[in-house]
C-alpha cells in the first residue's frame, strides 16, 4: 500500500510539474476558441479527382484542393507569418438556441458563427467585441477586399458591419421532386404546406422561426402576390409579431401539422433523397446538398429547389467575437480576425462552399470562376445568361448556364425555381422579394407558447368517448390493484367476523 501511495504521489507531482512547464513554454501561444455550426467548414481529405481546376492566385499549386482541414491550414498559415503561435480549439453547435444557452451557462468562445437573429440579439445585449480597424484595411485583409458588395450592403443596413463578418448566406425554400407533383405552380407558394393533394408528403423544419415565416407567407399570400411593396413594407409584413397575427398563425400551423409528413430536424435530407417525401422545406445550402446527393444516388433523381413567390427568407451567418472571452486580449483578437480573414480568402471560400454546399459571403473572381467551372453549360446545351452582378459587384458577372436548369414563372421571364446554381445564388428578382427575419425580441415567449400549443395535444381536442373509455380502464385497473393489495387483510377480517 505504501508503495502504491508513493507511486500515486509521484505521478501527481509529475503531472503538475509537467503542466506548469507546459504553461511556461506555451506563453507565446494563443488559444483561439472557435464555435461554429456542425459541418460548416472544410475538413479536408478530398479525393484526388475532386480537384477544382480553376486559376488560383492564392495557392502555390494549380487549382483548389482540400488536402488538410481548414483549421489546420489556418494554423500553419498564421504561424508562418506571425511572431507568436496560435492553436485553434474548434467546437460545434447544433442550433442557435443551443449556442446561446451554452454562452449563458458561461462557456467561453472567442469567435462564434450565429445566424442573423442571434447576431442581433448578441449585439443588442452588448456581448459582441467590435472588429478592429486593421481587420478591413491591414495586411491579409481578405474580408474587406473580397466581401460581396451585396452582403456588405445588407450588413451595413442593419448595422452589423462593426460587429460581424459575413460567412455564409442563403434563402429558404422548397426542395421538390418535379416528377411527383402535378403542377409546378404548387411549389411556387407556401400554400404547398397546406395542399391536401400532397397530404403527408411534405416535410417542414422543426423550428419555430422557419415555421412561423412560412405561416406568415400563407396568411398574407394574396396581399404579397399582388406585389408593389417597398423593402421596408415587406419586412414589416414578414416580421409581424402582433398578438392577433400570432393567434392566426397558431390556427394555420395546426392545419399544417395535420397536413405535413413531419416536423423534421435533420431527417428531411435523407427522406427527400430516398423519396419518402416529395417536397421538403429547406435552407438553400442543404438544398444543394440534397440535389447533389439525389443525383449521385442509385435512383438518379433530379430534384429542384423553389423559392415561393410570396416572399423568401434571407438569412446570414456571420462571425462575431465575444467580449467575455476575448477579455481585451489583443493577440487573441488579432488571431480571431485573422481566422475570419483566412476563411474569406476566395480560394478558401471556394473550398468551404464545395465542401458544405452553402454560399459564401465572399465574392471575387476566384469564386465566380468556380461558379462557371461548376455550373457552366455544356457546349450543346441551350444557354441561359444568369446574371450575378448584384452579388459580385462592378463588372460583367454572368454565368452561361444550362437553360434546362431553370424554371420560369407565368410571365415566362422571371425565375422562381431551379437547380444548384439557383439555390446557391438566387437571382436578383428573388432577392427583391425577400426579407431578413429579425429577432423576435420580447415576443419570443408568446411565439414559443403558440408553438407549444400547436405541437401539444389539446385536452379540449380529445373526443369524449375516448376519455370515458380511458377513465373506465384506469378505474378498473386501480380497483383491481387495490383489491389485490389488500386481499389478505380483507380476507382475514372476513374470517374474524364470520367464524364459520
Amino acid at each position: 500500500m505504501k508503495r502504491f501511495i508513493a507511486l500515486t504521489a509521484a505521478a501527481v507531482c509529475a503531472a503538475c510539474s509537467f503542466s506548469f512547464a507546459g504553461c511556461a513554454e506555451n506563453s507565446r501561444e494563443v488559444v483561439l476558441r472557435v464555435c461554429s455550426w456542425e459541418e460548416y467548414i472544410d475538413l479536408g481529405g478530398w479525393d484526388d479527382d475532386e480537384l477544382i481546376d480553376i486559376d488560383n492566385p492564392f495557392g502555390e499549386s494549380e487549382g483548389i484542393f482540400g488536402e488538410n482541414s481548414m483549421v489546420d491550414d489556418f494554423t500553419e498559415w498564421f504561424n508562418s507569418n506571425h511572431d507568436y503561435k496560435v492553436k485553434v480549439e474548434y467546437s460545434t453547435f447544433g442550433t442557435n438556441e443551443d449556442l446561446y444557452n451554452r454562452l449563458s451557462l458561461g462557456d467561453e468562445y472567442d469567435l462564434v458563427c450565429p445566424s442573423d437573429y442571434l447576431l442581433m440579439k448578441l449585439i443588442a445585449e452588448g456581448k459582441v467585441e467590435k472588429y478592429s480597424e486593421n481587420f478591413r484595411t491591414g495586411e491579409h485583409a481578405y474580408y474587406g477586399e473580397y466581401v460581396s458588395p451585396y452582403i456588405d450592403g445588407i450588413f451595413e443596413k442593419y448595422g452589423w458591419n462593426e460587429y460581424a463578418a459575413g460567412y455564409m448566406w442563403g434563402t429558404t425554400g422548397l426542395v421538390y421532386n418535379p416528377d411527383r407533383i402535378s403542377d409546378e405552380k404548387d411549389v411556387a407558394s407556401w400554400n404547398m404546406l397546406l395542399n391536401e393533394e400532397y397530404k403527408r408528403q411534405v416535410t417542414i423544419k422543426d423550428n419555430v422561426r422557419d415555421a412561423y415565416f412560412a405561416t406568415l407567407g400563407i396568411i398574407n399570400s394574396e396581399k404579397l402576390l399582388s406585389g408593389g411593396f417597398s423593402e421596408n413594407e415587406l419586412s414589416d409584413i414578414m416580421n409581424d409579431t402582433d398578438g392577433a397575427t400570432i393567434e392566426k398563425a397558431q390556427e394555420v400551423l395546426k392545419n399544417i401539422k395535420e397536413n405535413v409528413y413531419s416536423f423534421e430536424t435533420d431527417a428531411g435530407k435523407s427522406d427527400m433523397v430516398t423519396g419518402k417525401v416529395i417536397a421538403n422545406y429547406q435552407w438553400s445550402g442543404d438544398a444543394v446538398y440534397i440535389m447533389d446527393e439525389a443525383e449521385t444516388d442509385a435512383s438518379e433523381t433530379e430534384l429542384w429547389y423553389s423559392v415561393p413567390e410570396e416572399c423568401a427568407n434571407l438569412w446570414f451567418d456571420g462571425w462575431v467575437m465575444l467580449k467575455d472571452s476575448i477579455k481585451g486580449d489583443e493577440r487573441r483578437k488579432e488571431a480571431a480576425e485573422a481566422f475570419v480573414n483566412f476563411l474569406s480568402r476566395p480560394d478558401n471560400a471556394v473550398r468551404n462552399m464545395y465542401y458544405i454546399g452553402y454560399t459564401s459571403a465572399v465574392a471575387g473572381q476566384t469564386v465566380f470562376d468556380y461558379m462557371e467551372w461548376n455550373y457552366g453549360a455544356e457546349d450543346d446545351a441551350e444557354i441561359y445568361e444568369y446574371d450575378l452582378s448584384y452579388f459580385f459587384g462592378d463588372g460583367e458577372f454572368v454565368v452561361e448556364a444550362d437553360a434546362a436548369n431553370f424554371g420560369f414563372g407565368e410571365d415566362g421571364v422571371s425565375i422562381n425555381r431551379g437547380r444548384q446554381l439557383f439555390a446557391q445564388y438566387p437571382p436578383e428578382e428573388v432577392i427583391k422579394r425577400s426579407v431578413v427575419m429579425l429577432d423576435f425580441g420580447d415576443k419570443l415567449g408568446e411565439i414559443n407558447l403558440m408553438w407549444i400549443n400547436v405541437r401539444c395535444l389539446d385536452v379540449k381536442d380529445i373526443p369524449v368517448a375516448a376519455v370515458c373509455v380511458t377513465a373506465a380502464i384506469i378505474i378498473a385497473v386501480a380497483a383491481g390493484a387495490l383489491l389485490y393489495a389488500f386481499r389478505y387483510k380483507l380476507f382475514i377480517k372476513d374470517r374474524k367476523n364470520n367464524p364459520s
Partner: protein, 264 residues
Amino acid sequence: MVLRFNRKQLCIPYAVFLVLFVIVPLFVIAYYAFTDGQGKLSFENFENFFLNTNTLGTLLYSFALAIVTTFVCLLIAYPTAYILARSNFRKKHVLLMLFVLPMWINFTLRITALKEILSALEGNISAYPFLNSVIGMSYDFLPFMILPLYTSLLKLDKSLLEAAADLGGNKFTVFLRVTLPLSVPGIISGVTMVLLPSMTNYVVLDMLYNSTYIMGSLIGSYFSAYDWNNGSMIALILLAIIFVVTLVTDRFSDKDTANRGAVL
C-alpha cells in the same frame, strides 16, 4: 502504514457523485422552477403548466403513450421470460443474450432501421404516429422488461409449483395462484423501468415522425426559447410524478415480499 477502509467509507465516491450530479442540479432546477426571469419568487410557472389545456394534454398524451408501451412490453416480455426461465435448454444464457443483444447496438441506429421496416410495412408512416411511437418505444425498452421478469421467474422455487400441482391445481391455476403472484416484484421493476423513461424519450418520437410533443420535448421547447424557468418547472413536475409512481410501486413490492410468507 496500512490503510483501513471502513465499510461506510466505500460509499464516499458515490456520495460525492450523488451530491454533485443529483442533489445540486436538483436545487438548481428547483431554483429556476420557482423564480421568474428576474430571479423573483414566483408560482407563475406552476400555473402556466396546469392552466394550459395544451400542456395538460401533453401530460395525458405522455401517460397514454407510456402506459400503452409498458403494457405492450409486458405482454411480449412475460411469455418470453417465462419460457426462457422454464426451458430445459442448457445454454439458456445464450437464448437470453439473443433478446438482450439489440441493446448492444446504438439506439438511434436501431430506430433508423425500424423506421425503414415500418415504412416498408405501412407505406407512409406519418399516418400512424401513435402506433409507431408505441412500436419504437417497445422495441427500445423490451430488454428492460425481460430481464427483471426473467430473474424473478428463475428464482421461483420449483417445489412450490410441484406442491400446488400435488394439491390438485391444474396448470392454469398453478400459474395464476403461484407463479404470477411470485413474479410480481419482477413485473413491478420491469414496469418502472419502462414506464418512466417512455414518458420522456422524445428522440423516438422525433425519429418516427410523431409531431405531437411529450413531456421531454416540451421541456426542450422551453429551453430553446431561453425560458429556463418554465422548462425547469415541468422537469420538476415530471420528477414529482416519477416520485409518486415509485412510491406506489415500492409499496407494491414490499407488500409482496410480506405476502410471499403468506403463500408459503
